[in-house]
Symmetry: C2
Subunit: 204 residues, 2 copies
């Protein structure tokens, strides 16, 4: 070590405390199961920290995730009634975003996705949440509905302490580039291979 | 199709309904993150189905998973107070299993692990839970603390409708063999690589 230099771990010049409290961009991808499930598991940790959590579900089917939605909404009620944990909001595109007054926007998935992203962008600027779950958001980028450069710039320039978790297959390379933590869920064996059907409690 | 043969999907002779309701052995392995987090996400779905859920945490550190534990215990209280969802029990080896009267068993990890497995075996025989989360249980098998053949036999012979999720790195090949669903979590990028420290809300 050069004499007189302050010892730092890593080579980014940050103190341990700064590194410990760095807001992260997290990506869960891969063809295996657990991408969204693990994101909702992270929401449990965030809830316990008292963070405000915003879930934005960019999928069409209303059936999927109803278990997680019911459980996280129950935790939101616990927070409002007892002060334990933090508030959790759950927004889904499928039935039209809850904040939107536009009727029929669910018929145009690209427009609805752009509307969802515009709202997330506003919230990131206002530092609304401590944790954002952008469920199945990779497809929105893959299909060009939302501009990946806008997403990358917005995430890089976000202020405060806001974690963002993005799930879905085939994440855009530019998204992986800015991810602080990226996990790929790979299928080893799967009951669908043997004709197994999706079942309640496991798939939704 | 041979004339007179009842059409079945897959080749196991099960009806769609039977396949839809088959209790599963699920393994989350790999060096990446999300193994346990996804298991606790599954617990949210099970809770919403009203299943009894038993979490058995085979790890030493008390710090990890406190977020999930607090959140799942809050959901258990919601169930007891309102009837919504199902009951959730959280048992951990680190501080001595809650059902155990043995003092100091936490000093002997192998004995404590065997005690945990013996209790899970009893519960599987009594069909206590709809979902068992055996967190970090792969290590218990890897280190030979619990006999893998006993585990395989017990899981194969379990009756009723009991899902079992096992997490941890390096799952025993015999465990993967009987898994209905196995997902490997692989690290793509990780902040620890850049000197990032674990932080609250993300790691626990």
């Amino acid at each position: 070590m050069v004499q007189g230099q302050t010892p730092v771990e890593g080579n980014d010049g940050l103190t341990t405390r700064q590194r410990r409290n760095r807001p992260l961009v997290i990506v869960h991808s891969g063809a295996g199961k657990g991408k969204s499930t693990a994101a909702f598991g992270l929401a449990l940790r965030g809830w316990n920290q008292g963070w405000s959590i915003g879930v934005f579900q960019f999928v069409k089917s209303a059936k999927w995730r109803i278990g997680e939605q019911a459980a996280l909404e129950a935790l939101d009620r616990v927070h409002r009634e007892t002060g334990e944990g933090g508030p959790i909001e759950w927004h889904k595109m499928g039935s039209g975003w809850s904040w939107s007054r536009k009727a029929g926007s669910e018929d145009d998935h690209a427009a609805a996705a752009r509307e969802g992203w515009a709202e997330i962008k506003r919230r990131l600027q206002q530092q609304t949440h401590g944790l954002y779950v952008l469920d199945e958001f990779t497809y929105v980028l893959k299909w060009g509905w939302v501009d990946v450069d806008d997403v990358v710039r917005t995430l890089n320039e976000r202020n405060g302490f806001q974690h963002v978790v993005i799930t879905g297959r085939d994440p855009h390379p530019k998204l992986l580039e800015i991810a602080d933590l990226a996990t790929e869920m790979t299928k080893i064996a799967h009951p669908f291979d043997q004709g197994q059907k999706g079942q309640k409690g496991i798939e939704w």
